[in-house]
Amino acid sequence: MAIAPATPKSWYLPTKPHKFCPGCGHGIVLKALGENIDELGIQNDIIFGCDIGCSLLAWDFFACDSTQTHHGRVTPVMVGLKRSRPELLTVGYMGDGGGYSIGSQHLLNAAVRNETITLILVNNTNYGMTGGQMSPTTLPGQVTETTPLGRDTAITGYPTKGPEFLSTLTSDGAYIARATVSKYKQLKRFMRNALRNQIEGNGFSFLEVLATCPTNWRTNAQQTWNFLEDEIEKEFRVGEMKTPFGKGDKEVAVD
């Protein structure tokens, strides 16, 4: 019986151990991406693009060509690359601030145009790198540096539901899903689908991943896990919202 290697082959070892905080969800997401790159055999075809925010810490994470961009702008850079080099697989990596706030105009227009790119958005409900401010996905009542009394929905509205709005915007061929780092096998499968969809040239692919941020949440290990599973996953529905592969994942909670 083959034993799976501890680290994916596509990880770039000179930059390991990586720079994310202990308990950060990014490591799990990037492991799922690394394993998928290995299994799909696309290490030489992929261009990995980072946004700004904690996602940029992955700029030299993979033994793949990569480029690090500006806050919110990884989407247009990936669009430009893909349009000019359709044979490449472009994967944009961003956080909830980059994707849903400063880069939302790019995100929704890329989705509408059905750009054949794959975007992975790590949603940890706050701006991590700038010190834990409110983001579009901060939960109602959640305390952040800019919502010291908790997010007041009367003032700042309700959390952005990215996959939900992108499902409405996209046309046939798009793949839209939300996964969570608490369900690794599902995360890896959804990510594989998001990559496969680009490989097959079907259209826009988007995966939001619910992730942990113990440093800015100020939570210990158990509290971190509880917050993710008991609160965040209640607010954000996990599953495949749109898929060109038939019926979608069986674990989808159907309303």
Partner: protein, 362 residues
Amino acid sequence: MEKIVEGSTRAFLTGNETIAWASLVAGAEFMFGYPITPQNEIMHYWTRLAPKYGRGFLQTEDEISAGFTVCGAVQGGKKAFTATAGPGNVLMQEPFGMAEAMRLPMVAIIQQRGGPSSGTVIYSQQEVNLTTFGGNGEGYRIVYSTASHQELYDYTIKAFNTAWTYRFPTFILGDGYQAKMREPLELYDPQEKGITLAESFPLVGLPGVIGENRQPQHLNNIYSLEEELYEKVMTFSAVFEKISPEIVEYEEDSCEGADIILISHGVVSRAARDAMLILRSQGIKAGYFRPVTLRPFPDEALKKVILQSNAKKALIAESSYGQLTRLIKQSIYGETINIDTLYKPGVGIVDYDIINKVKSIL
């Protein structure tokens, strides 16, 4: 593939069309654009011509995206460009900054309109500051300020070569008048003229197998420490200063022994040259100096011209309020020549504006 321009022919075009044709013959493979007057016909003609020659176009959601998609395309190794003006130029400063930081050979056409803010859609020379030094950095950019349709054609071809030779973002600084004027020019195939087109090359998505015969490419523009950035910026500065003498261009006419030197750039320099000739015909010894590159600026050339001319006065004429003057003053610091100015922000300047001004100050 059908040849784009056969031989060399005189043609009658608007400036914006000229840029579309020049980009085609320069080998541009992709344009990313967003509508803003007065550059629109660059897109209009590019979108009509590009499909015939296998070139691409995407109309993006805004100028920020147009700039960043160009960044992506040039990282992929394709000659790509965009065009904008005024508020669009403001928005594009962000991707232009990334192009400076990552040495991306992007080309942007700027057709200046009136400002600040939405200003007018018509004309100005008010985007000099923005185009030369607009980013949150040191202005590692190459800026050609053109004055005629022939120059729009020649320098657009050159801009792609400069960008891909030196790897700094390169700009054609035109204006709304140049964009819309119609005048004859010579269209030619650059290669038939002996102009070698610079090769494009990818920065990511390279051939080969990672870990076997090549390393992964990791491009970045952000650094953890002050010292890391300092090293980077100092290297950029050294490179930029080293290549500057190869890049600077200017025009000089009749400055030797002149009493007054007329300095201008872009389309205003046409009026300035006419003014110089008329003044000379009237017995007033006027000279003419025009920087073609506003960045890098022809500092040494202008200092030398001033020294050799013995002129006591210079008149700077610009369709903005001191943007050219600022570039000139920092270039010739230490010279004692008296500087007078003719500022008409957002308004055209004709030869008699300059002649009358000269007569009022001599």
